[in-house]
Amino acid sequence: MEMNTFLQNFADILDETDAILITQETVFRDLDEWNSLTALSLIAMADEEYDVKLTGDDIKSSNSLNDIFEIIKNKG
């Protein structure tokens, strides 16, 4: 699993956020565009791209995109 591809996949689920802001240190919750509906897009992306079932707890316990990356990697 590639970090850059993952970050690109994450950037793709956002409409208004500049992809430059999306790095592995990004605290996704602090993004203006982040809300409960973007969380659903993240779950959908993990399912489609990595065949991984992300739970609400996975997202709630994560801070940075790196945390999400690690969870997906470990579940994949």
Binding site: I43, A44, D47, L54, I59
Partner: protein, 351 residues
């Protein structure tokens, strides 16, 4: 493994009744206009029918049943089983099915009981009625399924209020040797029981002095312990994985030719979830109807309501092969396939 088939039982007719009163999401003051637009884009829900204080689920189902029985020219005393599928019955006890038996003027020889399932309830209800009728040799059976979830959502919870609408349905069954098979796949995963829950009011947490206190969970979400709690992320995660799984299981187990299915009617959870399930199953868009736009998520009524509101003209007096799939609260799921169904479909009733 709860995968089985029942033969000799025909689905004769379906009718649905919704409250006249309509609420548009765009009019909600709970969230900003921008949030509402985003919400509508993701969930597909523009408006919902909301029961006034005087109307309960059993009223909607009763009206749907009366019109269906008269349209089919049934003799009421031939109905030997009535099942009411709902999570919003009239009282904690007795079951609403007994109130409905009396209101509808059904025979006292009719067995009647409630099944308090939600999103999977319509498919479960059909499996129960079909199985009982086949085993006992009952001539006619009636399934009433619906909910008035608006009564148990907090008016200050943006995670539930804009999603749920109210509706009731009635479905009529008859013993018929010419009827095709009905195939079922049913399942349960109670480890997710907290995903969709009303915490207080049952015997586990009796209503106490704290039950009605409104707590602010986060911005835009305030509710009491007697209100519905929905963990959107976990429900979504469950739906997009379990929905396709149960459909595929049914198709594989009974060697169903996917091409021969005329329509795939899914529980209407939210548009993003439903589209994702249809995409994963590679279903043709024209075979997957949606009723979310005008009615929202109506719990156990979504499947019959989608049939009545979106497919009436296509299936009326025609032999159709229908696959139906419900998934959600429990967590629980059910998929069924009915061959050559000739279903009398009534116009949508308003109360």
């Amino acid at each position: 493994m709860a995968a089985f088939s029942v033969n000799d039982i025909a689905i004769k007719g379906i009718s649905c009744c919704v409250p006249k009163n309509t609420e548009r999401n765009i009019d909600l003051e709970l969230i900003t206009q921008e949030e509402i637009r985003k919400f509508i884009e993701v969930t597909g829900v523009e408006e919902r029918r909301i029961a006034t204080k005087e109307i309960s689920t059993s009223d909607l189902c009763c009206e749907a049943a009366e019109q269906l029985i008269s349209s089919l020219n049934w003799h009421k005393d031939e109905i030997e089983i009535l099942v009411f599928v709902s999570q919003t019955g009239d009282y904690l006890l007795p079951v609403s099915a007994s109130i409905l038996q009396n209101r509808l003027g059904l025979s006292t020889q009719c067995m009647a009981f409630d099944v308090p399932l939600g999103c999977s309830g319509y498919v479960y209800g059909i499996s129960i009625i079909a199985g009982m009728m086949k085993t006992a040799g009952f001539k006619k059976g009636l399934l009433l399924a619906g909910d008035t979830i608006s009564k148990i959502v907090s008016k200050t919870d943006k995670s539930t209020l804009p999603l749920f609408g109210d509706a009731g349905s009635a479905t009529a069954f008859e013993i018929d040797e010419k009827a095709g098979n009905i195939f079922f796949d049913l399942g349960t995963d109670g480890s997710g029981y907290k995903t969709i829950i009303v915490p207080d009011g049952g015997a586990r947490n009796r209503i106490n002095e704290d039950s009605l206190k409104v707590n602010k969970i986060e911005e835009g979400i305030s509710r009491s312990s007697c209100d519905l709690v929905l963990d959107g992320m976990d429900v979504f995660s469950f739906g997009i994985s379990q929905g396709p799984k149960t459909v595929n299981k049914l198709i594989e187990k009974f060697a169903i030719d996917k091409e021969k299915v005329d329509y795939f009617i899914f529980h209407q959870a939210n548009m993003m979830m439903n589209k994702m399930i249809a995409k994963k199953l590679k279903l043709p868009v024209e075979k997957v109807p949606y009723s979310l736009k005008h009615f929202g998520n109506t719990s156990s009524a979504t499947i019959p309501l989608t049939i009545v509101s979106e497919l009436k003209d296509q299936i009326l007096n025609q032999s159709s092969n229908l696959l139906m799939c419900g998934f959600g609260v429990g967590l629980s799921w059910g998929t069924m396939f009915v061959e050559d169904a000739k279903i009398e479909c009534l116009d949508l009733i308003e109360l």
